[in-house]
């Protein structure tokens, strides 16, 4: 009676026909919608300013989005489990400084990046441990670590600063160089994105993140190691914030004790705009990445059109509210559609 798949393939294909994969289709549509908005916005910008999508223009767009894509990818992993990590901005700042001071002391770029990632991992573990063991809402715990990490950063960094002059040229060159319009950091972010998406879709641990965000109690009853999975999500989120810290340093060549302040809100916005639902269990890192791309593009499109960048935040907010409204409508319609399909005659 143990079920072995291949024998029953015909039954599956029968069942898989018709109106199947409804969820995935709707998720795809949600992501497609962001893509359409993004492309429309870029088209308008290009029409208004023909230099907008030049090689340099595209490169700038990608460079601007890279950090946000990375951190939003990590954040999605946490949000999918019905948690949140507000400390990512602080972690990014302290990781960037860790990498910077290592380079300033003559360390190798590779070890500097590694150091930044490990710093992120350490704080991710801390967050994950507090959230999974403490049974305290993640919002509060990570708000706490946001300030704690920022405090540590200020104590350690003081009024010091790392500037481009302290860094090897190869490192800063890497931060903005790359083949044609594709900068190295953007390629790294893309690789991370693809790997994370694949892991979430095809590995048991990844699926279990969705399961436990969807119904935590059921996850426990299904024997999913809930704490370990939550810890994994936070650790990966921390690691990506750390990696983003290193890339921040490479890109801007300038770090002080205030680096990354307030970044968590942009990250959370990108994730939500990208359709990762805050109540857990649904959404994808692709959506989050598109959300990140959309939000950063607003910042580039407005100046290109000669609109004051004062409007950027207001537009971010509008996109956020629209995204949430869209999610709500989609959820309601989905529920109605699923109820209808219930008319099963067994």
């Amino acid at each position: 009676m143990t079920v072995t798949a291949p024998d029953h393939a015909p039954a599956a294909s029968r069942a898989a026909g018709g109106a199947t994969r409804l969820v995935e289709r709707i998720a795809r549509m949600r992501e497609l919608a962001i893509l359409v908005v993004l492309l429309a916005m870029l088209a308008v910008a290009q029409a208004g300013n023909s230099a907008f999508l030049s090689a340099q223009g595209v490169k700038d767009l990608l460079l601007n989005a890279t950090l946000l894509v990375l951190v939003a990818t990590g954040q999605s992993l946490v949000v999918v489990t019905r948690n949140v990590d507000l400390s990512v901005g602080s972690v990014l700042g302290i990781s960037a400084f860790a990498a910077g001071s290592h380079l300033k002391d003559g360390g190798a770029p590779v070890t500097a990046v590694l150091l930044a990632v490990l710093t992120g991992v350490a704080f991710g573990l801390l967050n994950g441990a507090l959230v999974s063991l403490g049974r305290v809402p993640a919002l509060v715990v990570t708000l706490g670590t946001l300030y704690i990490v920022r405090g540590l950063d200020s104590l350690w960094v003081g009024s010091r600063q790392i500037t481009a002059a302290d860094l090897p040229d190869a490192f800063t060159g890497f931060g903005s160089g790359g083949p044609w319009a594709a900068p190295w950091p953007a390629l790294i972010a893309l690789a991370v994105l693809v790997a994370t998406a694949y892991w979430l879709r095809h590995f048991p641990a990844g699926r279990e993140l969705y399961a436990l965000g969807s119904h935590p109690e059921a996850a426990r009853l299904a024997g999913i190691p809930v704490r370990r999975r939550v810890l994994t999500a936070y650790t990966l989120c921390g690691a990506l914030a750390g990696l983003a810290g290193a890339l921040y340093l490479a890109r801007f060549g300038n770090v002080d004790s205030g680096t990354g302040t307030g970044y968590e809100l942009t990250v959370v916005s990108a994730v939500v705009v990208g359709g990762v639902v805050f109540t857990g269990g649904s959404g994808s890192v692709w959506g989050a990445a598109l959300g990140a791309l959309l939000l950063t593009s607003v910042g580039s499109v407005l100046p290109a059109l000669g609109v004051s960048s004062v409007w950027v935040l207001a537009i971010h907010g509008t996109l956020l509210v629209l995204a949430i409204a869209a999610d709500r409508i989609v959820a309601l319609r989905l529920a109605a559609a699923l109820k209808k399909r219930n008319a099963r005659h067994g």
């Binding site: 798949a5 291949p6 095809h202 099963r344």
Partner: protein
Amino acid sequence: MTHPSDTGPAPVLALRDVSKSFGAVRALRDVRLELLPGEVHALAGENGAGKSTLIKTLAGVHRPDAGQVLLDGVPVVFQGPGDARDAGIAVIYQEPTLFPDLSVAENIFTGRQPRRSLGRVDHRAARAATAALMERLGVDLDPERPARGLSIADQQIVEIAKALSFDARVLVMDEPTAALTGGEVARLFGVVRALRDQGAAVLFVSHRLEEIFRVCTRVTTLRDGALIAAEPLAGMTEDDLVRRMVGRDLAELYPKREITPGEVALSVRRLTREGVFTDVSFEVRRGEIVALAGLVGAGRTEVARSVFGVDRRDAGSVEVDGRALPHGSPSAAMAAGLALVPEDRRAQGLVMSLSVERNIGLTGLRATVRAGLMDRGAERDRALDWAMRLQVKYARIADAVSTLSGGNQQKVVLAKWLATGPKVLIVDEPTRGIDVGTKAEVHRLLGELAADGVAVLMVSSDLPEVLGMADRVLVMHEGRLTADIPRADATEETVMAAATGRAAA
């Protein structure tokens, strides 16, 4: 002590002198249980007798405080539900535990997905296996659709498929039939018998006694956490079993009250909320206790919420003492003399972190205001008064409600609403999950309120409670009122028939 296993096959799974306490409540006391291969074993007992705790002990959710779980005669300690599952124990809980966002196939295989190379999930195999399981169960359920929006019966089917998907040696079913129709129950029993014939041990919990006699061969009965009997069902009658479960006759539990209903206090006409319930009309008179019975998901709670105005209604009217209530306004309902004690006291009835005093005071914020400010003294007096009348057991009235036992929490919810002096009291599952002693107190209280002329509408899934307390029983089935049965005609059979839509009573 002789074991049934001395003569027959050795038990697959057994509990030996297991005890489990939660705080001061002893949920299980020295309980023994033996599940033999190839038998369907009934677990009987009233609500609160310890059945759920026993099941969760078998499932690895709870670890016994004392005693042992034996698998094939060897003591084992389950560190979690995963361990129990790996040992071949499948549990179908009363409340389905599905992941709404995941597909049916993923729901079935979560935690033990079929793998392909590199440890990746083999989605295709999971889909195919799910389709095969559905075919075996004779159900047309798309493996790809999400679990969200599935009917309770279909959710139950998915749970059963989950249990079938790994050669469960022990299948535990907690009220699997509560939400199923006759045909679905028959099919379920077919599956249960097939599993039994393959040598699996099945532990079956049901409040429907005739089902126990239909599929089970032995029965273990619990009362107040203690083992009462473990015996073959052959030769027993339903009355014998009830006597073991209850330990006294139903008549003693629910003293019969003589009532002469007064004028109509609550009148509900053609109440409709699209997709939830349709065309619900009934009246409740002063001094009457009317039960609203039906299966889980029949729409009873939703009707109660809609009458009170928490949920909007799409059509119909609600009148209290002949005066119509406006749409969707709980405060107007309260002002008219309506009170609703909700089903889930932790989530809806109480602010768990606030004190007993403040919780009782919540409904009287307006009444205890002086010159625009709260009169703390008046609030305290009111709370003390009601806490005393209901005999709430607390250390200090300033203690957080979360420190009280479930039964006492329920009394605080009642006190909170009784303090408003309601003309019509709606109680939703007033005794779910509270101990037998407090339950009797709640019943006594409801009886007294009715005697004082309050109209009581009681939503309850507890059939003995419905039959024992109600002057009339309204029954809902799939969003419609299917029966209005006077006390004299209300029996387990008539109510269940109407609740499952089997008969137009």
